[in-house]
């Protein structure tokens, strides 16, 4: 039940951020839905794979893949979908608790909080870059495959 509520709230949150960033029309709905899917994937990995960082990584990878596909279908920049979709993963509460530990001079908690924060953010950043590179490799492969096919056709 709590998971269902969380996924629903991820939808609303992503939708809200999409409005805040002036996304318009049907794309708003895609952004919200993408946010919900991203969080659902994270929960799935966390529950079945028992890994929070892995969950962040895989959820970011899938959010990137979904936004790359959407961006190519609608001919819009990738970040238009990617940024709102990643919003549920943004470790806002970790960032807040970590800095409040620092201000209150609780250095031990600060250290472990900072480590977790960097792990999460790092997993997300790597996920974004990795999927963008995969897409680049895929497109290159597709292009050279088509070129080869054309050459074959010309020969016959």
């Amino acid at each position: 039940m709590t998971h269902a509520i969380q996924i629903a709230m991820a939808f609303l949150g992503s939708l809200g951020f999409a409005v805040m960033f002036h996304v318009k029309g049907i794309k708003l709905f895609f952004c919200g839905l993408g946010g919900a899917v991203t969080w659902a994937i994270f929960l799935g990995v966390k529950i079945f794979g028992d890994s929070i960082i892995g969950g962040f990584f895989i959820a970011t990878l899938s959010a990137s893949l979904i936004s790359e596909i959407l961006a190519r279908k609608i001919k819009a920049p990738v970040i238009m979908f990617l940024v709102p979709m990643l919003v549920p993963l943004i470790p806002g509460s970790d960032l807040y608790y970590t800095t409040s530990h620092l201000i209150n001079n609780r250095m031990q908690e600060f250290g472990s909080g900072l480590t977790l924060l960097l792990q999460k953010v790092g997993a997300m950043a790597f996920g974004i870059i990795l999927m963008a590179s995969f897409v680049q490799i895929f497109l290159y492969g597709k292009q050279s495959f088509l070129k080869g096919l054309m050459r074959l056709k010309k020969k016959t």
Binding site: T2, I5, Q6, M9, A10, L12, G13, G16, F17, A18, V19, M20, F21, H22, V23, K24, K75, A76, P77, I79, M80, V83, L86, V87, P88, I90, P91, G92, S93, L95, Y96, T98, T99, S100, L102, I103, N104, V121, G122, M124, A125, F126, I128, I129
Partner: protein, 262 residues
């Protein structure tokens, strides 16, 4: 003859200014620096410059363009205010695609740029309620009750008002963050005293999502991995300072009201 040369020089310089206008819109609206560099280069090449060197960081764009006659044109832009507007990024993207397929003439280009600059975003009222919605959603998302959600919604409205006031007074971002978080803290305490919400931290965290530069933190790391080290480090520094300012704003309020520092 001289007049003709001067007029092409002037025309090319003007053209570069228009191209830089597009780059500036992109950067101001929160596009990645490599997108800005890429777009300016592409459009420049489409308009017949044979070599375009662009360097962009979060706060500035520098460009030199060579035309086939061997003249070099250059321009610098400094950007100080950013408002994330993905719609504008999409519009520039569409225009750039169009230009690369077939360059527009000067009046058309000018018109297209004006159109993008004056594109209407969502109204202030819509923004106002969106802020409330986001904080309510994330307050429940992080484990708050329904009542916490309502309290967070009201705090989100307060946040938007203070944020707008701060921007109107042209305060520094860091200072704005400090004041908004303090205002949200006071709002949350008052509403809990009135018996509206229960969990202080969940209400605050819902509002934090609006302030905390989490996206900035992620994108700055992405920029660094992507090779844009300067931009990444600037973003990282900004994110750290801002989150410190936010925590400090809450800490001051909590200490003031003696409710124990969170």
């Amino acid at each position: 003859m001289d007049v003709a040369i001067n007029s092409t020089l002037e025309a090319n310089q003007k053209l570069l200014t228009y191209i830089m206008d597009l780059g500036e819109i992109l950067l101001k609206s929160g596009a990645e620096v490599n997108r800005v560099e890429d777009t300016v280069t592409r459009i420049g090449k489409a308009y017949g410059f044979c070599r375009v060197d662009v360097f962009s960081i979060t706060s500035s764009i520098v460009v030199s363009a060579h035309d086939p006659q061997g003249d070099v044109f250059t321009e610098t832009r400094r950007i100080t205010r950013y408002i994330t507007d993905l719609d504008k990024i999409e519009r520039v993207n569409r225009l750039s695609r169009k230009i690369c397929a077939k360059p527009l003439d000067e009046t058309e280009l000018l018109e297209a740029i004006d159109q993008i600059k004056n594109a209407e975003g969502y109204s202030e009222t819509a923004m106002f309620f969106t802020y409330g919605l986001i904080s309510a959603a994330f307050s429940i998302f992080f484990g708050g009750t329904f009542n916490d959600g309502i309290t967070a919604f009201l705090c989100g409205l307060v946040l938007r008002v203070v944020l707008r006031l701060g921007r109107k007074m042209d305060l520094q971002n860091i200072v704005i963050n400090f004041f908004t978080s303090a205002a949200v803290g006071i709002g949350a305490i008052v509403m809990i005293k009135m018996g509206l919400g229960q969990n202080m931290d969940k209400i605050i965290i819902g509002n934090i999502m609006l302030l905390i530069p989490g996206i900035l933190l992620t994108t700055s790391l992405r920029d660094m991995i992507n090779g844009d080290l300067v931009t990444g480090i600037m973003g990282l520094g900004d994110a750290i300072l801002r989150s410190l300012a936010i925590s400090f704003g809450f800490a001051v309020v909590m200490a003031w009201f003696g409710g124990g520092i969170i």
